[in-house]
Symmetry: C2
Subunit: 740 residues, 2 copies
């Protein structure tokens, strides 16, 4: 058991508890208490007053209790780590309170802490648990040191003018300047790196530079150590965001990376207004904030790549992001995000947000069907989001024909997530990590993050020969982004198509995902997965579903008294095989119905070849119990090529308050897949309306024209995909559409 | 796949969808949308207006669409079943709307539906899927028929005076009177049975009697078919509730049973006010309503016995219950429950609730530490609830030394559930059933309800020799209620003790559960389980925990490549054994820490004998995939007697918005268990405060005096349990307590 510094740690935990209760104003979502309406109303009237009151209470408690400044000892999640993190925030918060209230005790409090650090810092060598690649002194990695300085430099800026010369000299000479030097000249490999650690370092150094009026530090931060512009903040802005504001590592890291970008940009905007930093690259920093919001469902970020699933719109970073974006744009829809966040930041921008909300100016945030192009030039694939409405809990599909996303990327090219009704229906595991939970590998990524979470089978995308994409080599994968073939955001008939080549030798994989109006309400999610090769392969389509399996016509036989793993490697070794079917004939009509909370969902599926279906449970070969217990089904075919055509739909209702249950089952009478002259023809036939036709042409030119006759009807379209739904032809059908 | 009457069913599903959206006013809890504050405010101002508007919209839609009155064909959850259920409610709702608005179309609508039923009913023989023990015609079981008549008789009462003589005669002669006769004289085994089915039948017949001014029907309903009083409603009130308002089957069925009790009681109160029905048995019906509320956590009922876990305070039955209880008592705390329910019932009582809420009269509902005595005389054990605060998400322990709870009872005598922070920490499986979900065994109890959910190992209570209590025979179990030995509700040092004899031949089982203030905040849950016998037995203590196991010092070895079940029967056959320890020495200090949402919990445990610990996953021998996948740990000892002493505590925080993680681990330095002269002495030693001492005497007399000397201290107490916490002596320590 972890017993390091236990008595101190415990005392800390208790005071932390009080602090957090005070500073974390958002009420628990899981148990709506009767007082919630009152809280909500108060919050709406004066969120800023409440923020400041909470902050004052929290900071006052720490002031009374005294602030330990311990000798650095622990890695992430440990006592000294958390205490230093906390102290950095305390300096910031005391500074903000001084700025707002002018009360001298807050100035003194911040100054006292800084004086303690000015005593400590010069005595420190590298941290005893230092990660050698990122030198640091207060923390085990340089990243935390940069974050600390971003907070502290802001807190210091708020009190600097009212300190004595002796205080200023002590703090700047012994703490701020050496730390800024250490994070820049002393850590060139981080400081010059185009990566979120580099952005934090640049922000820390640059913001300190502005505070100390040190142009040298500022210029290094803006243009790199050699001030050439080959590194530094501007280069980071250029390289790390796509023209649509997408960040290659995905929304979890985008949220984290945003913070230094927008805080430093604010400082630049104040000190060097001529740079018009917020207009840089067609306002890409503002786009990055709204793109982050778009990459969420029911308040949580899409957990693609190495993501902690709990993170969402209420994170501290997004509270700053929303306040700054509102300051820049005055966009009323951002206010509703702030309302959802439940509190505002203690800055002038936070105050403006609270006042606008109190004035009733909030409008709904328009969640959209869109593609966020990936790559600095927007030509390295895209993250595609299809939605059937603008609310944050309307049905949504996340489709992932992106680039790799650097070292935090997963091998899930063309992966899919399906949300509906506020719930995940077909889900992504996220990262195998318990953030900062010391007993779990020091809070760092767990070994199962590599052996499971990153592997292709851990995602909802095609696995060829039970191997992960690109042989699990992310550098190789980085060279071959996905290719988006088509994107159409027509409401009621939206779709996207994409392909990957090179992920598997000699196998091309294409996927078409569509969201089409369903007769009687809601949407069909139509998912077509094609694997094509000259050689024979095994094709697995995993579906990581949520809820409870209710009914299926698949002839599953359950392993009732013995479980063994599905395979030996590439993630299969972690899957207990709980059920298996005998061979299901080609083009059979398979249905699987599940219950997720209060709604039923049915997956209707057909395959061109014979298929076997499996049910699995995660947890095999997990000697430290690091994995969550999750379920999946896997559909397997064998042959040169394969096509899976799936339709997901929501139906019925399981209402326990009214005690009404309606289970309707699939509304799809038939799914047909044919191939004719290089064109896959998929017809999805609802029981009560005309078929939905999807055509997928091998010829992927955007302007290529296609004409296909099926039965009595002729279909014409341009581009690699034609979609013809009963709700009318899709927008890409510019040349006439369905003809009798 | 279920294809019965599919096209009709689907049409029904869609219109249902619209209806439910309209009639189910409570907003989704899982995804707080930005518009929630506004909705909440509107609701608070005019919940009743909103209820009526929603009802009008829903009923109007049905009126326009037309109401099918199909030939009965389907069992529970099927189309005809749900349609008839819906129609009964429609008659009721149209009647209420007519009463409130005087608009003639609602009268006509209700009358038309009733006329259709008056045509249909005389043509019906028994239902084709009838459950032979409960004859019925519209539905597969008589219970649904009685519920239907309860609704319909109220709807009919609202329109009766304004119908033509011919209409009245048709409806009464062909439908209401024959149905009332069928449910009384035609179903004596149900009607005279002291059971919730009997209550529904009595209510249906009695309420119809009042409406038709038929004293004969009323008297049969009140006093039984022979009017002797040996059966009927009054007898039901006497037999089915304890003096504290506890219902032997538990809160899930209590909720359901409440409805006919309170609706019929209302009718009695209006028509026979001299009976003072609501004062009957010291106002037991009102007590039953508040007792039902007390048996909930964060809005959901304790899922003891055969319970559907989704049911809670927002269920329709509780909405009526709260409105009627408020009408009777004017108790402002009930208004906060109504606020939480999100809507009010369309009755004068519902209107009064809405008006009082709008007038700002709601007060918090005081959730309490209490025991709800079981049995008509209150002498058949009790359900004990310990809480560390009055909010609905403060920590709570449910301790179950009750009677069996009839056929829906589980073999979980002395079972325990632990809630905290709005979450289940140590949980009960509830029933293995998907209510009304047709593909799951017609929505009825699943075979696994018997083979798993009712078995002792499915609960958090001692299992002797891997067998269920009373050999799994509920009638035998019904003869031997638990015995409550002590109960003390002192805040900060509350506890209860109880024992069972006869559940296992030659083995007595005692359990003491205490909730004691924890230094630094929160509570320790102290749990002492004693098994005593002259022969040698195996003692298993299962802990069905939630969340993710984070850290333990138990030497678990995980089964990484092969899983087999824990046993062959009594529920063990459903448990995959995922990990097992080598033998842990007697009195070892074992710790297990878990993460549940954003909080850490640690269980610290000691046993008097050597122990082995297991981790399990539910799902073995489940050929139809009927079980949810849940985890548990099982502590096993062997010998003549055994003692398990466990302490649960919450600590630290896992805050992903602020990115703060604090994991402190157990704050218990040591747990000691000794036995001396028939007294178990358990000392629980926190690291920073004096030990908490628990004494459990074999002598169970309430007034027996005990004196024990431990080290330098002498402890004196009365009764079978003495508890000495640093926060002061407990209330039962009347004679001096801890002495130096």
């Amino acid at each position: 058991m972890r017993k390091i510094a236990q008595s101190i740690s415990r005392a800390c935990a208790f005071s932390f508890g009080a602090i957090l209760v005070a500073s974390c104003a958002s009420p628990s979502l899981s148990s709506p208490s009767v007082s919630e309406p009152l809280v909500t109303e108060t919050r709406r009237d004066n969120m800023f007053t409440q923020t400041i009151a909470s902050l004052r209470e929290a900071v006052d408690k720490r002031r009374v209790a005294g602030v330990p400044v311990p000798i650095p000892a622990d890695p992430g999640g440990g006592y000294t780590h958390e205490q230093h993190k906390q102290n950095g925030k305390t300096v910031y918060e005391a500074g903000m309170l001084y700025e707002l209230t002018g009360e001298i005790e807050y100035l003194d409090f911040a100054a006292d802490i800084l004086a303690d650090y000015a005593d400590l810092y010069p005595t420190l060598d590298l941290h005893p648990e230092v990660k050698p690649s990122t030198p640091s002194r207060l923390f085990w990695q340089g990243l935390n040191e940069a974050v600390w300085l971003v907070y502290v430099s802001q807190g210091y800026a708020a009190i600097r003018d009212d300190l004595s010369d002796a205080q200023r000299s002590d703090i700047e000479t012994n703490l701020l300047r050496p730390m800024a030097d250490f994070l820049s000249e002393g850590s060139p490999q981080t400081f010059n790196r185009i990566h979120n650690h580099g952005t934090w370092a640049a922000a820390a150094v640059g913001m300190t530079g502005y505070t100390l009026d040190d142009r040298d530090l500022v210029d290094k931060a803006l243009y790199g150590l050699d001030k050439s512009g080959d590194a530094g903040f501007l280069k980071q802005v250029e390289e790390l965001f796509s023209p649509d504001g997408y960040y290659a590592e995905g929304p979890y890291y985008q949220r984290y990376a945003l913070m230094p970008f927008i805080l430093f940009a604010q400082a630049i905007d104040r000190n060097d207004p001529d740079m018009e930093i917020f207009n840089y690259r067609d306002q890409v920093l503002v786009k990055a904030i709204t793109a982050t919001i778009q990459q969420s469902y029911a308040g949580k970020f899409f957990p693609i790549n190495d993501a902690i699933r709990e993170k969402g719109l209420s994170t501290n970073e997004l509270r700053y992001g929303v306040a700054i974006a509102y300051d820049l744009t005055g966009e009323p829809s951002l206010l509703s995000i702030a309302l959802q966040q439940g509190s505002v930041v203690p800055t002038p921008e936070g105050r403006a947000v609270a006042e606008a909300i109190a004035a009733g100016e909030a409008g709904p945030f328009p969640f959209k069907t869109l593609q966020l192009r990936d790559g600095p030039q927007g030509d390295r694939g895209a993250l595609v989001i299809l939605r059937n409405g603008s609310a944050d809990d309307d049905a949504a599909i996340v489709f992932k024909p992106t680039s790799q996303g650097l070292g935090h990327g997963h091998f899930d090219r063309l992966g899919l997530i399906y949300y509906d009704n506020g719930d995940e229906i077909v889900a992504d595991y996220g990262a195998a990590r318990f953030l900062n939970v010391a007993p779990k590998n020091g809070g760092r990524y767990l070994p199962e993050n590599t052996s499971w979470a990153k592997q292709t089978v851990a995602h909802n995308t095609l696995v060829v020969d039970q191997r992960s994409q690109f042989g699990g080599d992310w550098r190789l994968a980085e060279e071959r982004p996905s290719e988006v073939l088509a994107f159409d955001d027509t409401p009621g008939a939206s779709f996207a198509a994409a392909q990957i080549t090179g992920a598997y030798d000699g196998v091309d994989v294409r996927r078409v995902v569509a969201m089409v109006d369903r007769p009687g309400g809601g949407s069909y999610v139509i998912d077509i997965v094609l694997g094509e090769s000259d050689g024979t392969h095994t094709y697995d389509l995993p579906v990581h579903f949520k809820g409870q399996l209710i009914e299926t016509n698949l002839p599953f036989e359950y392993s009732t008294d013995l479980l063994v793993p599905m395979g030996d490697d590439d993630g299969y070794e972690h899957l207990w095989k709980t059920a298996e079917t005998r061979v299901v004939p080609a083009n059979a009509h398979s249905e699987v119905s599940i219950l997720v909370r209060d709604q039923f969902y049915t997956l209707t599926l057909a395959t061109t070849g014979e298929a076997t279906a499996y049910l699995t449970r995660l947890g095999a070969n997990d000697p430290d119990n690091n994995l969550r217990n999750e379920q999946a089904m896997i559909f397997r075919t064998q042959g040169k090529s394969t096509a899976f055509a799936s339709v997901y739909e929501r139906h019925g209702r399981y209402d326990n308050d009214e005690e009404v249950t309606v289970f309707s089952g699939s509304s799809i009478a038939q799914i047909d897949i044919h191939e004719r002259e290089g064109i896959y023809i998929i017809s999805v036939s609802p029981e009560t309306t005309n078929p939905i036709m999807v055509f997928v042409a091998k010829e992927s030119g955007e302007s290529s024209s296609h004409v296909v006759r099926v039965g009595q009807k002729t279909y014409k379209w341009q581009g690699p995909v034609g979609l013809f739904a009963s709700s009318g032809p899709s927008r890409n059908d510019k040349s006439g559409g369905e003809l009798e």
